[in-house]
Symmetry: C2
């Protein structure tokens, strides 16, 4: 069986049901599936095919707990930057943020946390590794594994580097918890394509509905 054969789900089904999963079961992900997910990520294109990515899989329970505590601190540091200082500042109606807040409490219990690293600094390297995240999440979806894209914060950067022995030459791009969903995949909530598309000049509508 080739790696490609391990992902038989139709492309459309994967794309149209791959929503952010923030509530994860603690059940482990089989190593073979984790490998299929990372293999898929590495099939993405990158500038000049430079492949400036590195996938750091945090699976050891003690490492996950320590990274989880730093993630929690980073999440609240990002909120503080936005003028939010505690749960009371986040309305119950803001479900995405409430869900993200819960993830910040629980992320250490995800069976795997992927730190997506770029092997160089700067926007070019960052841009070159991000398409691979979409492959990673689509492959995970096809195997029943959920996750979401999150970021850390400058406040914790040095400590995450120390914990995970990330060299200064590398850039921490994203932090992705992975696991089996407590809820369901899809449907997604997106604006219609016609509302975000122009033809030849910005503002000139397509004739799509």
């Amino acid at each position: 069986m080739t790696d490609a054969d391990r992902l038989p789900m139709p492309l459309g089904e994967a794309m149209y049901s791959m929503r952010a999963i923030r509530r994860l079961k603690p059940d482990p992900i089989p190593d073979a599936d984790l490998r299929t997910i990372i293999e898929a990520a590495t099939q993405a294109p990158s500038g000049g095919n430079g492949q400036p990515w590195h996938y750091l899989l945090i699976r050891d329970p003690d490492q996950r707990a320590k990274l989880g505590a730093l993630y929690h601190e980073a999440w609240w540091a990002k909120r503080r930057d936005a003028g939010i200082h505690g749960p009371d500042d986040i309305p119950e109606s803001d479900r995405v943020t409430r869900s993200a807040m819960r993830l910040a409490d629980e992320i250490g219990a995800a069976p795997v946390i992927v730190l997506l690293l770029a092997t160089a600094h700067g926007a070019g390297a960052m841009g070159s590794v991000i398409p691979s995240v979409q492959n990673l999440l689509l492959a995970a979806r096809a195997l029943g594994v959920g996750g979401t894209i999150t970021t850390l914060h400058a406040d914790v950067d040095a400590r995450v580097r120390a914990l995970c022995e990330i060299p200064e030459s590398m850039q921490i791009v994203y932090c992705l918890p992975l696991g089996y969903p407590r809820g369901r995949f899809g449907p997604l909530n997106r604006h219609p394509a016609a509302s975000v598309t122009s033809l030849d000049r910005v503002g000139a509508a397509t004739d799509w509905d």
Copy 2:
């Protein structure tokens, strides 16, 4: 038929054969397929589901020719920044760069050029729109359409904005020519996943082969 049903290709087949296609036939892409491709792009995740993307489809022949000339200038400006001043500085053995150089001559003949825009400036907005590019290219692949991710250059930014009426509030992220390939899709040339993956700490190998 739902949008998802229009993309029945197995996920693995799409991912493992979606390589950069830089030699394109001039044949038009049916509008329904173009729409399916953009719809798929908009299913990607983004920070806080903010969906800060805009797809500008350059299809008018005169617009394509003008953008193609600016792309050519941008491509050589990027080479100049890297100390390359003409075709003689690019060895025949550097096939990716020779192929990209040819694309810079021919891009105006691609049936569609997509300018991926972010509706805000900064690395956050840039990062939020890039996963959608991978959905776009995978959906294109599933419909037999090829393309590649390219960038422009500061030298031409103002003129591209004027040509395409791109407001200052938007950021030009990528430029993607799309069309039917003159060559074939896949196979890809990628480093093994094990060589770009660590477990718990950077440098600690997985037990993958």
